[in-house]
C-alpha cells in the first residue's frame, strides 16, 4: 500500500469516527414510554368500523414507545365514558385518553381531580375545548376531527357531487348529544346555506346500537319523499346500510347523493357499488396513535397539548380501491 493510500484510509477513518461521535444520542437508553401506563377510551365496540383503526394506532404507538395501553370501550355511551374515567383514575395511571362525548361540563370535575392527582388527560375523537384551554399547558391535547368542520366537509362533497339549491335532502343523525351532534349540525348547516331543503331525522337508540334497524326507516322516508336528492349522515354504522335501503326502493347507484362517515366494510362495498358518493375519512389510526404519543411526550418532557385535526377529507368511489389493503389491516 502506498503512503498516499494509507493517508487517505486514515483520513476516512478519522472522518467516520468524528461523524459517529457527533451523531445525536437518544435521551433514554430504553423506550421513551417505559414504565408508563395509559388508560385509553376507544369509543365504540372492539373492532367495529369506527373503532378498529383507533385501536391499531394506539397499539402501534404503545409498541413504539414501550408504554402499556389499556383499552376501554363504551359503545359510544357518554355515561359509560364517565364511569370508565373514574375506573381509570382509581388505577393511578400516567395518562388517561378520553373521548369527549359527555362534554366539558360533565368531564371537568373529573379531569380536575385527575390532574390534581398527577394523571395527565388527553382527548380524542370529540373535543373538549374547556379542558384543552385549562390543562393544555400540562399536556391536554386533542387528536380528532373538528366535528363541525367534518360535517361541513361531507356536505361540501355532496354539493360537489351535484346536490344543489332547491334539492331535498335528509340529514339522518344524532341531534340530541351536545358535542357529538356537532358533526351532523355542520353537515345540515352547510347544505342549508347552499339552499338545499334539509329534513332532520334523529337516530333512535336502537338504530344507534344496531344500524341494520335503520333500513325500513330510510325506506319509509325515501318513499314519502319521492323528490329526495340526497342523504347525509355522520353515523358510521348507518352509512353502511344506506345502500340496502336504496336498493329496496329501486334506486340506482348515483341517483341519490349519499354523504356518510368512516370506512366500515359495508360502507366500502357501498362506495365500490357507487351507492355512497363520499364518506368522511377521520383517519382513525391517528386518533389512536397521537394521544399515546401526546401522553408519552408530556409525561416525559412536559410538552404542552397538541391540537391535531385528523380529518383530511372524504373517500369516494374513485379513491377507495387503493385503501382497501390498509383497511383490511385495520390501519385505515
Amino acid at each position: 500500500m502506498t503512503k498516499t493510500k494509507l493517508l487517505a484510509t486514515a483520513g476516512l477513518l478519522a472522518l467516520g469516527w468524528t461523524a459517529a461521535a457527533q451523531a445525536t444520542q437518544p435521551t433514554t437508553s430504553g423506550p421513551l414510554g417505559a414504565g408508563m401506563t395509559m388508560y385509553m377510551q376507544m369509543g365504540g365496540n372492539p373492532g367495529d368500523g369506527a373503532t378498529l383503526a383507533r385501536q391499531t394506532g394506539a397499539a402501534d404507538a404503545a409498541h413504539a414507545f414501550g408504554i402499556k395501553v389499556i383499552e376501554q370501550f363504551s359503545a359510544w355511551n357518554p355515561e359509560t365514558m364517565l364511569d370508565q374515567f373514574r375506573q381509570a383514575m382509581a388505577a393511578r395511571p400516567t395518562c388517561i385518553g378520553i373521548t369527549g362525548h359527555p362534554g366539558d361540563a360533565a368531564f371537568d370535575p373529573l379531569i380536575a381531580q385527575a390532574e390534581k392527582e398527577g394523571t395527565l388527560v388527553t382527548v380524542g375523537n370529540t373535543p373538549l375545548p374547556v379542558a384543552e384551554a385549562t390543562y393544555g399547558a400540562k399536556g391536554t391535547g386533542y387528536a380528532g376531527v373538528d366535528l363541525y368542520i367534518g360535517g361541513e366537509i361531507t356536505a361540501q362533497a355532496m354539493l360537489a357531487a351535484g346536490l344543489k339549491s332547491g334539492d331535498e335532502a335528509l340529514e339522518y343523525g344524532v341531534f340530541n348529544e351536545t358535542t357529538r351532534s356537532q358533526s351532523d349540525r355542520g353537515l345540515r348547516d352547510t347544505l342549508v346555506k347552499a339552499g338545499v331543503k334539509v329534513t332532520e331525522l334523529n337516530i333512535s337508540p336502537q338504530v344507534d346500537s344496531d344500524s341494520s334497524l335503520a333500513v325500513p326507516i330510510l325506506v319509509a322516508f325515501l318513499e314519502s319523499h319521492p323528490h329526495l336528492k340526497g342523504i347525509g349522515t355522520q353515523h358510521g354504522g348507518v352509512t353502511g346500510f344506506i345502500p340496502q335501503a336504496l336498493r329496496q326502493v329501486g334506486k340506482q347507484p348515483g341517483q341519490i347523493i349519499v354523504g356518510g362517515i368512516d370506512l366500515a366494510p359495508s360502507t366500502i362495498a357501498g362506495l365500490q357499488q357507487k351507492y355512497i358518493t363520499a364518506t368522511l375519512d377521520q383517519q382513525l389510526y391517528l386518533q389512536g396513535f397521537l394521544p399515546v404519543t401526546q401522553c408519552v411526550l408530556s409525561a416525559r418532557y412536559h410538552f404542552a397539548g397538541l391540537n391535531i385535526n385528523t380529518g383530511a377529507g372524504v373517500e369516494t368511489p374513485s379513491t377507495i380501491d387503493s385503501l382497501i389493503p390498509l383497511i383490511k389491516r385495520g390501519i385505515r
Binding site: P46, G47, P216, I217, E223, S224, Q248
Partner: protein, 347 residues
Amino acid sequence: MSTHLSSKTPEVRAPGLLPRLARVEGLPIILVFVILVVFFMIAAPQVFLGWPIYLSFLTTVPPMLVLAIGLTLVVAAGEIDLSFPSTLAFAGYLFSVCETQLGSPWLGLVAALAGGALIGLVNGTLVAVVGVPSIIVTIGTQFFWAGAASILSGGQSDALQELDGTAIYNIFAGNLFGVLPMQALWALAIAVFMWFILNRHRFGEHVLFIGDSRTVARVAGVNVVLETIKLFTLMGVLGGFAAVLLTIENLNYFSTQGQGYLLPALAGVFIGGTSVFGGTATIVGTFFGTFIIGMLEAGVVATGIAGFWVQAIEGIVFVAAVVLHLVVESPAKLRALSGIVGLRREQ
C-alpha cells in the same frame, strides 16, 4: 284463542261481541296491527300504498320475529332469556368464519345453529340443574357470549358480499317470484311450526304447565329439568337461525350485531299478549306484535313527523296499542284496573 292453563283467576264471561272476539287467538293485536296499517295508509299513502315499504319490513323484521317466537315459549314457561342478542353475534361469527376462512356457508349454517344450541344448553343447564334464576344466568351469558364473539373475531367486521346471488343467499334472503323475501317465508314457517309445538304438542303443553306452576307440573309428572333445558336449547337454535338470516341479508357480519334487538323483541312478545308471569302464550300475538314494533318507527317517519317527535309518538302508539289490546282481550282486567284507580265510582 290464546293458550292459557292458569286457574288463578276465574274468567269473567260477559255476553257481547268483544268477549266472543277475544276467543280468537291474537285477534286484538291483529286489530291493532290493521288499525295502524290503515292509519299509516291514510297518513302516508305514498309510502304505505306501495310495495317497497312492506318489502323492507319483510326483510328486516324476520330475524327479530324468529327471536320473539322463541322468546314467547321461554316467557310462557315463566322464564326469560336476555342472552339472545349475543347469540346473534356469536352464531353470526361462526357463520361468517366458515364462509370467509373455509369458503363453506352451508357449514356456517350448521355451525351457527350448533353454536346457538350450545348457548341455549348452557343457559338451560344453569337454570334447570343449578337453579340460578334465568334472568341472572342470561344477563351473565349475554356478556360472556358477546365477549367471546369479540375475542374470536378480534372485534372485526366481515364483508360477505361474495354470498350475493349464491344458493344459500337465494334460499335465505332471495326474493320468491322477485317480490316475496325468503326470510319472511322462513319466519312464517317457523311461526306456524312453533304454533303447533305450543298448542298441539306435548312439549308445548309442558312448557305452559311449567309456566303456570313448576311445582304442580313436577307433581303431575313433567320432567321440569329436561323440558327447561330443551326449551332454552330451542331458543338458542332459533337465535342461531336468526343470526344466519341477519348476516346473509346484510351481507356483512358485525361483532356487535343484535345489540339493538333486545327491547324490540321483548316488546313484540309482551304487546302480543304473552303473559309476563308465564302460563299464557300466543304465537299469533307475538307475530303481529313484532311486526307492529318493527314498523312503528318507519311508519311514524313516513307520516312526515321528523326530528325529536318520532320517539315520543312511538311511545304513545305503543301504549295505545297495549291498552286497546287489553280492552279487547281482557275486559275483566280493564274493569278491575278501573276499580283500582277509582274510575268505576265516577261512572
